[in-house]
């Protein structure tokens, strides 16, 4: 039973969110979509953390997916599913090239190169007429047949992606990821291809981020270069850290909590940043295992009392 508790937890949260879409009115529905997309971003970040790297380029791949979708909708009339697939595909191709080059460096260097990549792409968008320059792209609507159900569709797809990532994590491949984080020389010494595996991990996470970006573009209808700055990675980091990075439930819980709190905190004006900042600082210092760790602790306490 405990072996499947993360699966059950994630599915339970997904069901709760879907119920929110069904009964909660249109704003709650939108909120659910944001939570789902944020949860995917945080899960993607966590996925690369399995090999021990902090992937600041995740915002860039999210942006690549969104811009690919925006471009297709504005310039070519392709079917929705194909658009989604192409957006994920572009993120995949770019991530293989980018990862294949940069995963040779580790730790802070990898982090900062991802940061530079994100910022470079952002400036690149502003200079591209075809991508709408600084104003970005508008009119990115889901097709008519899906419009009424788009919130369900996005939520379900997002959670399928999250469950897919969890599935990979629990597979032998996922164990090699964690082993690489633990001690990559040992993994290499017994004949596992470390670099190749790292690129695979990075490419999977980036494809998922690209798909999330595409869903985001359809959900928001409008995108602009500043949407995909490095702050996006920092926010994803906040979801992950508050939720707890040890458990696959963490990013989902963190995203749900922080997106709701942020929606509430909007009325605080510019103080939203203070809130996010405080949330990160406090959880790093006092809740190093995040919400998921806290839940675990409570459960264990209850068991020991009972």
């Amino acid at each position: 039973m405990t072996e499947y508790k993360e699966w059950i937890g994630i599915v339970a949260i997904a069901c709760a969110l879907l119920a929110g879409v069904a009964f909660g009115g249109s704003y709650i529905g939108t909120l659910v979509v944001w939570i789902a997309i944020a949860a995917v971003m945080a899960s993607s970040l966590r996925f690369v953390l399995l090999i021990g790297e902090l992937n600041f380029a995740s915002a860039a791949f999210f942006g690549i997916g969104a811009y690919c979708t925006g471009y297709i909708v504005n310039h070519a009339d392709l079917p929705f599913v194909l658009t989604l697939a192409l957006s994920g595909g572009l993120a995949l191709v770019v991530s293989i090239v980018f990862g294949g080059i940069t995963l040779k460096v580790k730790g802070p260097y990898f982090l900062l190169i991802g940061f530079a990549f994100t910022e470079a792409l952002r400036i690149f968008y502003t200079r591209m007429e075809a991508l709408g320059g600084n104003s970005g792209l508008v009119g990115i609507f889901p097709p008519a047949w899906l419009d009424a159900h788009y919130q369900y569709f996005t939520t379900v797809l997002c959670f399928l992606l999250i469950l897919g990532l969890l599935g990979i994590e629990r597979s032998h491949l996922g164990k090699i990821f964690i082993a690489i984080r633990d001690n990559e020389n040992v993994v290499r010494s017994v004949g596992n291809r470390v670099f190749f595996t790292k690129v695979v991990c990075f490419a999977i996470a980036s494809t998922v981020a690209g798909l999330a970006g595409s869903l985001h573009a359809f959900a928001n209808n409008v995108i602009s270069p500043l949407d995909f700055g490095f702050m996006l990675s920092i926010f994803a980091l906040a979801y992950l850290k508050v939720g707890g990075e040890d458990s696959p439930l963490g990013p989902v819980m963190g995203a749900a909590l922080l997106v709701c709190v942020a929606s509430y905190a909007q009325s605080l004006g510019g103080n939203e940043h203070i809130l996010y900042g405080l949330a990160i600082v406090l959880s790093v210092l006092f809740m190093p295992k995040g919400l998921a760790g806290l839940a675990d602790l409570l459960r264990r306490k209850k068991e020991s009392v009972a």
């Binding site: 082993a179 633990d182 290499r188 010494s189």
Partner: protein, 249 residues
């Protein structure tokens, strides 16, 4: 001895670091089913030698053949696929994972190109765990194990890859006498039951003399003596090299 018996063969291997010649023109041969010791005073170049053989460092000059294939300059992954698996002196395990998952990683590396059923794979993992006496700890997280068990685990990981040559970097350090005896027993089984060769870098001279078929003595990056334990013990060159060292033979 015929060429067919030779599993690993290094010819004129050298490694030059900025200004320092860590290994200088070493020839080394290891036959199938042979336990070979590599000893020498601190700083003799043993670790560099290990890195050269396992592909973690490319040699400056010289050539490396494993099971007949030229492995000069190959990656550690490639060399491991060719049958050579090594352990590391420190922390040669995966601290956050369970004993079983540690061994699983070893078996995954070993079976990269083979199609093996889940059941067979599990059997192999259990066998490795049992062989190194870790059966009671299979679900414990590696970082919580005692030092001695961690040493055994690092050998179990290497074994699970089913290499033909297993290179162990000071595997007995920190083990108590019973553990040492038990481990040496396992080495004999690796040789007899599984036909594996072992290359052993070890400071515990009693153990080395006890278990090894042949010994290479490295000093200042060069092989100063090679032969059976008895031959090495009686070599003048070896005695001279070790003089001044805190521990003699």
């Amino acid at each position: 001895m015929t060429d067919g018996d030779i599993l690993l063969s290094g010819r004129n291997l050298s490694k030059q670091f900025k200004g320092l010649r860590a290994v200088a023109g070493v020839d080394i041969d290891i036959r199938r089913g042979e336990i070979v010791g590599l000893i020498g005073p601190n700083g003799a170049g043993k670790s560099t030698m290990f890195n050269l053989l396992s592909g973690f460092l490319p040699p400056t000059t010289g050539q490396l053949f494993i099971a007949g294939a030229n492995m000069t300059g190959a990656t550690p992954e490639r060399i491991s696929q060719q049958g050579l698996v090594r352990t590391f002196q420190h922390g040669s395990y995966l601290p956050s994972m369970t004993v079983r998952d540690n061994v699983l990683i070893g078996s995954l590396g070993g079976m990269r190109n083979a199609r093996v059923s889940r059941a067979e794979q599990n059997k192999g993992i259990d066998e490795a765990i049992a062989l190194f006496g870790l059966s009671n700890h299979w679900n414990n997280v590696a970082k919580n194990l005692s030092h001695g068990l961690q040493r055994l685990l690092s050998m179990a990981i290497a074994f699970a890859a089913r290499p033909s040559l297993i290179c162990l970097d000071e595997p007995l350090t920190g083990l108590n006498q019973t553990e040492v005896t038990g481990t040496l027993q396992v080495y004999r089984r690796l040789k007899t039951d599984y036909g594996m060769s072992i290359l052993l870098v070890e400071h515990n001279m009693r153990a080395v003399m006890n278990i090894c078929d042949r010994i290479y003595v490295l000093h200042h990056g060069e092989i100063i003596c090679t032969g059976t334990p008895d031959e090495v013990k009686n070599s003048d060159a070896v005695l001279k090299a070790y003089l001044g060292e805190a521990h003699g033979i």
